[in-house]
Amino acid sequence: MVLQNMFQTLDAFWAERGCLLAEAYELEVGAGTMTPDTFLRSLGPEPWDVAYVQPCRRPTDSRYGENPNRFGRYFQYQVIMKPSPPSFQEMCLESIQALGIDPSIHDLRFVEDDWEAPTLGASGVGWEVWLDGMEICQYTYFQQVGGMACRPVTVELTYGPERLAMCLQDADDYRDLMWSDTVSYGEMRYEEEREYSHYNLEIANTEMLGKMFEMSEQEAREVTEAGFPLPAYDYVLKCSHLFNLLDARGALSVTERTAMIERVRDLASAVARAYVARREELGFPLLKAANESGLESPTYKRR
């Protein structure tokens, strides 16, 4: 199955299970978790089921396009369900089967891997999903986000489409993966990986990045204080990405690194609090919608 068909298959699968299909967020993020559709929506009591593809950037993973399965920019397929339904693990396995993987001839299992995102003040309990020893998904029950306990608990399933495709297409190198029937992943993205790797690891102007960090930090703080958590969060994301770039350039001492993580976390936590306060002001609209639908549980959208 080519990559674009995988996305279509997963879209159909999760839409059928009540997820709304969202689009990727347009800012640089290190993981799908950081997008507002996950980070912010997992806060507060409102139900939220969503699926989307999110391009992610991890400058420290840059390998000049030469490592067969590690890239500085790659994709995640993100599924969020709040509250976490009891049958989620089964759904996860069914979705993998929907992609054409027959579990009876593979080794599919859940391996403990608790998750922590220090810059988001977030942590969760969960697993890597292994397919024949390869991590293809992350499956996490959020326990804390933006420094706040998650009630109810959000469950997140993040697929690594490239990893999955390597199994599905029996490829040993990402460059050989087919995105469509005619264009390969390498043709689409090799040059990009190469150039960005040079940029991320060697070229990026650390002094400028440092300045941009300071400016973005200030903007995030001011916009949060002005009472607009959504645009403020954009600047938190910018801070996070600038931090990642500085980190990849080896420009941070361990102390500076820790301090910077704390700064981003403080911003994220402030935005999270402001977001929840605003949703409460609005009367938690999605909770209301769920109640009005006549069902007791906010999982009204589920079949």
């Binding site: 390998r63 490592n67 067969p68 399965n69 590690r70 509250p83 976490s84 339904p85 009891p86 693990q89 396995l93 027959d102 579990p103 009876s104 001839i105 593979h106 080794d107 599919l108 299992r109 859940f110 391996v111 403990e112 608790d114 309990v125 697993w127 397919l131 024949d132 020893g133 390869m134 029950y141 326990q143 998650c150 009630r151 109810p152 608990v153 469950v155 390597m166 199994c167 029996d170 040993d172 001492s253 361990v254 102390t255 500076e256 820790t258």
Partner: protein, 716 residues
């Protein structure tokens, strides 16, 4: 009437290390819980897989036996008036116990006549009392980490998805975390067809095996070990079965099938430690070695399932290990662009511990500490030079890509050694760097080379000194800086090398290196529990002796003797260790041991309170009573023998004890004949001084007051 009990908690995959401890808790708590309920179990067995924690209990009684309890009420005189009519007290007492006054009994006790109530409590059917027990046991399980899920507030290691609770053929009606117990369990995710209904507990293992699950973890473990051996041998190798990894893997599968995969031979150019760690820490594979013990480009993976499609699984796993090893290869290629020694400057930017400067500061501190140790220990100048160089470069690997990979971080030290070797450092320096963290735990060996020992000792003592100064000493079970391991390491290395090192001086030197930093930032860290160096020194000395005490206990030295030995001055751990072992043997063999201790204790008892107040000085010529003179003469002679026995390297503690035990007679006679507490102050303090000298002589070996004598309880 008995019936078997089955209790299975079905969960989303548990973290492998959490399963066994949870099973142990289940067993212990159910055992005691059933006993409390007077439901005698015959036999408890636990089973665990990633998806289930199970207990099978044979022959649980179906019905609690009745019990009769007796309660003591008011005195008869208060319960009945003069006419023998019950008072309010009697009525109230009877009502409180659910009885009529007529049911009360009056009996004489040694405090007079009292009213008693005898209450029979009817036994309940087990089915009625078990739900509460099972629920509370499930709730009481503790895990290193727990979680919530869905909309609930119940905390457990992982979400609970089903529960089986059967007593005989009946379901025990219990609900845990919103999940109602039933008789339905689930087999292997992909080897079974739908839910599995159990008629009775004894069907459990068989029904699950039919559904693709080996629930008995002992059996599963054997299967893995056996298969791994066979598969490796088929490929001409021997599997390296690490015990901890085997346990972990065992709790990651419900039906094990081992397979052997291979990787590109070029990766064998990587340091063996790296290849093994990538295999085991990342992928939970077992390495394979050839007849001469060298690594082969093979791995054993344990699949959770049967052998269907095993080739597909193998290829997938091969792809992964290839990529992981490529990462390691990338790290090493990048890392080796810089000589290890050229990383020294980079350490300035890495904080060691907040308030303790950078790793560079640490590297600079280690030099003088190694030098001091090298003077104290029997090492050559060459070894000292090697150690000094190794100490300087010891922390350089902490800035490498390899160690930055969290899964490979456990290779710190060994990577430094490898990179030192590959970037032009002498082999001896490389080895000392590699050995610096040894012993890494109870199952690890101390460094083999003298240079490695010097670096390891200095590194550990510096770490302990830094943390104690900051007030970061371990409390209770919390030891986030692993200081107990470091202290144990110091003890183990010194005993292994048989080095005599003056502990107070060693501690003081380490502290002075830190305090003497150009900018003692630790003082500014402002931690609430920070200690002044003098106090830190005392606490560290005590901390080390606690570790030594643990060692002695493991060697079978009774705790009181160990404490007695360690309560005597112990500037040198090796001396204290040898002394304790020797005295333990003496205690076993010398039938007069206790009598000697008792005599010496008399001295300690009388002189120590006085000494706490004033100094005493002995004037032998002033002693006149024959018993006093005799004691002094004996003391004088034996004390010299003690000193001779304890001189030099081959210390003969048994001989020292023999000498001291010769004082027993003179001590006893002295106390019988002479009144120590004479009225004349000069006479009194001189006699006390004599007794004090004897106490001091014993303190060369032990503090006699810490020895617990047999029958000590009778005397009190």
């Amino acid at each position: 009437m008995t019936a078997d009990l089955l209790f299975e908690i079905g969960v989303e995959e548990m973290p492998a290390p959490a399963v066994l401890p949870a099973l142990r808790q289940l067993e212990v708590r159910l055992q005691s819980g059933l006993a409390e309920l007077r439901l005698e179990p015959a036999d408890i067995t636990t089973y665990g897989t990633p998806r289930r924690l199970s207990v099978f209990i044979k022959d649980v009684t179906r019905q609690q036996p009745d019990i009769e309890e007796e309660f003591k009420g008011p005195p008869a005189s208060a319960a009945f008036d003069n006419d023998g009519n019950p008072t309010k007290a009697a009525l109230g007492f009877a009502r409180g116990k659910g009885l009529e006054v007529a049911d009360l009994e009056v009996r004489d006790t040694d405090k007079g006549a009292y009213v008693f109530a005898r209450v029979t409590q009817a036994g309940q059917p087990a089915l009625q009392v078990l739900p509460e027990l099972l629920e509370s046991v499930a709730r009481s399980l503790t895990f290193p980490k727990t979680m919530r899920w869905g909309e609930g507030d119940f905390r457990f290691a992982r979400p609970i998805r089903w529960i089986v609770a059967l007593l005989g053929e009946e379901v025990i009606p219990v609900e845990i975390a919103g999940v109602r117990a039933g008789r339905v369990t689930y087999g292997h995710r992909f080897l079974s067809q739908g839910p599995v209904e159990l008629s009775r507990p004894s069907d459990y293992l068989e029904a699950l095996e039919e559904a693709g699950v080996i629930a008995d973890h002992h059996r599963r473990r054997k299967m893995i070990a056996e298969q791994a051996r066979v598969v490796a041998q088929e490929h001409g190798g021997e599997v390296r079965l690490d015990d901890d990894l085997l346990t972990e893997v065992n709790f990651m599968v419900e039906m094990p099938t081992c397979l052997c995969g291979s990787f590109d031979e070029r990766f064998l150019d990587l340091p063996e430690d790296v290849v093994v760690t990538v295999m085991s820490a990342h992928q939970r594979y077992f390495p394979v070695e050839n007849a001469s013990g060298a690594l082969m480009p093979l791995f054993i993976a344990v699949r959770n399932g049967d052998d269907k499609g095993l080739d597909v699984v193998r290829e997938g796993n091969e792809r992964v290990i290839q990529a992981r090893l490529s990462d390691a290869e990338f790290y090493m290629r990048e890392d080796l662009r810089v000589a290890l020694a050229d990383r020294l400057d980079g350490l300035k930017r890495v904080t060691y511990i907040e308030g303790m400067g950078s790793l560079y500061d640490k590297a600079r501190r280690l030099g003088p500490l190694v030098r001091w140790l090298g003077e104290a220990a029997p090492v050559s100048e060459q070894e000292l030079q090697t150690a000094a160089r190794a100490a300087l470069l010891a922390k350089c690997d902490l800035t490498t890509n390899m160690i930055a990979d969290t899964k490979l971080a456990t290779l710190q030290g060994r990577i430094g050694g490898e990179y030192a070797r590959r970037t032009g450092e002498p082999e001896e320096v490389a080895q000392a760097i590699a050995e610096q963290y040894q012993p890494r735990g109870a199952s690890d060996v101390p460094p083999a080379t003298n240079a490695g020992r010097l670096v390891a000792l200095a590194d550990k003592m510096d770490h302990i000194a830094a943390c104690f100064l900051l007030g970061l000493r371990p409390t209770g079970s919390a030891d986030p800086h692993a200081l107990r391991r470091d202290a144990q390491g110091i003890v183990t290395i010194l005993l292994d090398a048989r080095w005599r090192v003056d502990m107070p001086e060693f501690i003081e030197t380490a502290l002075a290196e830190i305090v003497g930093l150009e900018s003692p930032t630790y003082a500014k860290a402002g931690l609430p529990d920070a200690l002044p160096p003098e106090q830190a020194a005392l606490q560290i000395a005590e901390f080390l002796l606690q570790r030594l005490e643990g060692d002695l206990a493991e060697r079978g030295v009774s705790y009181d003797l160990a404490r007695a030995v360690l309560a005597a001055p112990c500037p040198d751990l090796l001396d204290a260790y040898d002394r304790a072992l020797a005295l333990a043997q003496v205690r076993e063999q010398d039938e007069h041991f206790e009598a000697v201790i008792i005599a010496a204790e008399r001295c300690a008892n009388i002189v120590r309170p006085v000494r706490a107040e004033q100094e005493l000085s002995l004037a032998p010529e002033m002693l006149v009573e024959p018993a006093a003179v005799a004691l002094h003469d004996a003391y004088h002679e034996q004390q010299q023998r003690v000193e001779e026995a304890l001189e030099g390297e081959a210390r003969d503690y048994a001989a020292a004890w023999q000498a001291l035990s010769a004082l027993r007679g003179p001590i006893d006679t002295f106390f019988d004949d002479v009144l120590v507490m004479a009225e004349d102050e000069t006479v009194r303090s001189n006699r006390l001084a004599l007794v004090g000298a004897v106490d001091d002589a014993f303190l060369r070996l032990l503090d006699v007051k810490k020895v617990v004598l047999e029958g000590a309880n009778d005397q009190q």
